[in-house]
């Protein structure tokens, strides 16, 4: 990359996306013109409240939920925190439930919240097994769920390896056992049809910035009647479940972005899937000692992830950036101390492979020319990192 001239090609849409101009346009008036606090009695407050409730309706429609089941938060991570902590504490209070069942391929927002619930609050956290693609087998949920299970949480589609879980089957099992089921759909919501009724999900996290909305805003779907208590306490906003003045412009933006993602879902997938499949096919063909990570079919339409044997994945990202490609990996580390990702370890990869991961996630600005350019440079860059490791 030449500083100040060409920007690298962005291939990291699973990390974040640019805000859609249509989204930005609907947000802007809420910074300066319609700036009221939705909790206020007056004209300005009611103006903001209308926008807020309209956004809630839009998000609810996207999920096939009721309006009052949508809680706005500050991000997907906060939604996960509220779901896990809020339900765990409520379930303990309600029925002394002390058991939490999650997968080993959760986002850190779920995994580290569960870890804290175990280490600091005495919950027993148990991990479902996953197969080599990172998928949970619903039969294992049946086998491991208990009457004293406070909640089950399984990620909808994994951020690192793109695998989509059989959420509706897990939802059915949890529903039959009467145990709340949470799923982190932060990645999935950008690409997949989400229906909380069909999937029998009780709690579902989404975030704005993975689907061309703004950063710093998210939502949690909470099925009516689900035991949950607030984590953020204060005022009575969001049905008493999330105190704090709502971030109206961002909420409006997320709702618009979510709606666009659902309306344009098929046309976006139609653009992305052929690029993704081309990328996967070519990279496995041209890079020696390369493997696809995650499921070959049941994966996000924009998601291609790999491991290369005996490659420093972190170094590969630097070489790619200098060659003009902004990509990611499971062990990305900005201070030069990468460790293998828990997710790649959970799907059974040895350190020799798991340190050499590369995640390429495509988006609306990605073209075939971008993808082909990457395919052209990648083999030599992988080879360079392999050489640097042995010299």
């Amino acid at each position: 990359m030449n500083i100040g001239t060409d920007q690298p090609v962005y291939l990291d849409y699973a990390a974040t996306t640019p805000v859609d101009e249509r989204v930005l346009a609907v947000m802007l008036p809420y910074f300066t013109d319609f700036y009221g606090n939705p909790s206020s009695i007056h004209y300005f407050g009611q103006q903001a409240e209308r926008a807020l409730e309209n956004a809630r309706r839009v998000v609810a429609e996207c999920l096939n939920a009721r309006n009052d089941e949508i809680i706005f938060t500050a991000c997907g991570t906060e939604s996960d925190n509220l779901a896990l902590r809020g339900v765990a504490f409520a379930q303990r209070k309600l029925k002394n439930a002390n058991h939490i069942l999650i997968s080993p391929v959760e986002h850190h927002a779920v995994a580290n919240t569960a870890r804290q619930l175990a280490e600091e609050f005495g919950f027993e956290v148990e991990f479902l097994p996953v197969d080599e693609f990172g998928r949970v087998d619903p039969n294992d949920v049946t086998a491991m769920i208990r009457p004293e299970t406070a909640l089950v949480s399984v990620i909808y589609a994994n951020n690192e390896i793109g695998t989509i879980n059989p959420v509706s089957q897990i939802g059915l099992i949890c529903h039959q056992k009467g145990i709340p089921f949470h799923t982190d759909a932060v990645q999935a919501a950008a690409h997949l049809p989400i229906d909380v009724q069909a999937d029998l999900v009780d709690l579902l996290s989404v975030g704005g910035h993975k689907l061309y909305g703004p950063k710093g805003v998210g939502a949690l779907y909470v099925r009516r009647g689900t035991p949950i208590m607030p984590v953020e306490t204060g005022g009575k906003q969001e049905g008493g479940l999330r105190a704090g003045t709502q971030n109206v412009p961002y909420i409006v933006g997320m709702a618009e972005a979510f709606q666009l993602a659902q309306i344009e879902r098929q046309s976006r997938a139609g653009q992305l899937v052929p690029l993704r499949d081309h990328l996967i096919e070519r990279i496995l063909a041209v890079v020696p000692r390369a493997r696809l990570t995650g499921h070959p079919v049941e994966r996000l339409p924009n998601h291609a992830s790999f491991v290369f044997e005996k490659v420093d994945g972190n170094l590969l990202l630097m070489l790619l950036n200098e060659a003009g490609f902004a990509c990611s990996s499971g062990s990305a580390c900005k201070v030069g101390a990468p460790e293998p990702s828990e997710i790649l370890t959970a799907i059974g990869l040895s350190r020799n492979w798991s340190l050499g991961s590369l995640r390429l996630t495509l988006g609306r600005q990605t073209t075939l020319e971008h993808v082909d350019r990457l395919i052209n440079v990648l083999p030599s860059l992988v080879e360079k990192t392999r050489t640097l490791q042995v010299t």
């Binding site: 500083i3 630097m318 010299t391």
Partner: protein, 357 residues
């Protein structure tokens, strides 16, 4: 228009490498910042003198301020396997090793330079106070820095022609005081990295504690003898002592005793009065001739036997197998096996090697 080559600057977060980067950016080079993440003992990562999280955050801030990309390069395993292992085995062999020499050769101007080149850089710049001069035939000479108090050509003496060809040393023409002034003008932090000579991976501890954990055999007690072999006492392990050392021998004697020699085979420390100390010859091995070819026949040179030592006159006899024999005009008191000896012809570094004996 001249297209300047892409330069990777080895950054530390300190004033020198920050100013080096700023100068190159100001001259119009395409610049990237790179920084090594080195090995630390588990738990002591925050104390590593060369790459604490603070230093790395500082380097990252400087890079952001200069508008250049910044990368932290993981050298932990390589550093451990080369620099730390050489340090430990050096003490086990009775040497007083200089791990910075190994680091400069294998890590800084090895792995880091290779990484910079893999990133598409044509040059790697550092904040060392030394100069380079390219001759018409393409040979690159290594010269002392302009500032005599800051000159760091000593530590760069192990660079090959290939490494020198890829090097840029933007600070060599400056006095330290000018560099501080430049830092202020560029709006850069003027914080100094610790000037201590402690090794980065010792994390401020005494090296003997480190040896005790990683090479306890270097700390085995044994006899202290004089030149005639009379036993005068017991030493605490030869790694505690350096040739020329007076303090800390721990024997009451009519006149001050100095460490004359360390005999690894018998684990014996040989001591004696100052009159027995000193030698006028020195054997060096692993010698690097910066020109890339072995000089013809003996030649006179100014010699430094430690980083902070005064220059001494000697005649250098190049030998087969990257070795050299030095004959000093006056006996030298603290020739220390394991340390780096560097040969100068006026301003120019002719070469350098490790002191064998």
């Amino acid at each position: 228009m001249i297209v300047l080559p892409k330069v990777a600057v080895a950054m530390s977060g300190g004033v020198d490498s920050s100013v080096a980067a700023a100068l190159l950016v100001a001259e119009g080079y395409p610049v990237i910042g790179i920084m090594l993440r080195l090995w630390s003992e588990p738990g002591a990562e925050n104390e590593n003198r060369c790459c604490t999280p603070d230093a790395m955050a500082q380097a990252r801030r400087v890079a952001a301020q200069l508008g250049i990309q910044f990368y932290a390069i993981d050298a932990r395993q390589r550093f451990h396997d080369t620099v730390v292992q050489t340090f430990l085995s050096g003490y086990v062999q009775g040497l007083t090793p200089n791990p910075c020499v190994v680091c400069n050769r294998l890590i800084r101007w090895g792995l880091l330079l290779d990484t910079a080149l893999a990133m598409g850089a044509e040059k790697m710049a550092t904040g060392h106070y030394a100069r380079l001069r390219t001759l018409e035939d393409g040979t690159v000479q290594l010269l002392k820095g302009i500032d005599p108090r800051k000159d760091q050509s000593y530590i760069l003496s192990s660079l090959s022609q290939d490494q020198l060809n890829h090097a840029l040393l933007p600070l060599g023409e400056y006095q330290k005081s000018q560099v501080r002034e430049l830092a202020r003008n560029f709006g850069l932090p003027v914080a100094e990295r610790s000037e201590s000579q402690d090794l980065c991976f010792l994390a401020g501890q005494d090296y003997r504690q480190f040896l005790g954990r990683h090479a306890p055999e270097a700390l085995k007690p044994g006899p202290i003898v004089d030149r005639r072999g009379s036993i005068l006492g017991e030493h605490r392990g030869l790694a505690f002592y350096t040739v020329g050392q007076r303090k800390g021998i721990g024997i009451a004697f009519p006149e001050p005793l100095y460490v004359l020699n360390k005999d690894m085979h018998t684990n014996t420390l040989v001591v004696g009065p100052v009159s027995e100390l000193g030698q006028d010859t020195l054997q060096a091995h692993h010698v690097n001739w910066t020109s890339g070819s072995v000089p013809q026949g003996p030649f006179p040179a100014d010699v430094k036997i430690r980083y902070k030592a005064e220059l001494a006159r000697a005649t250098i006899f190049p030998l087969e197998g990257d070795q050299a024999r030095l004959v000093f005009e006056h006996p030298m008191r603290d020739i220390t096996p394991g340390q780096l000896v560097v040969f100068y012809n006026n301003e120019m570094v002719v070469g350098g090697g490790l002191i064998a004996r």
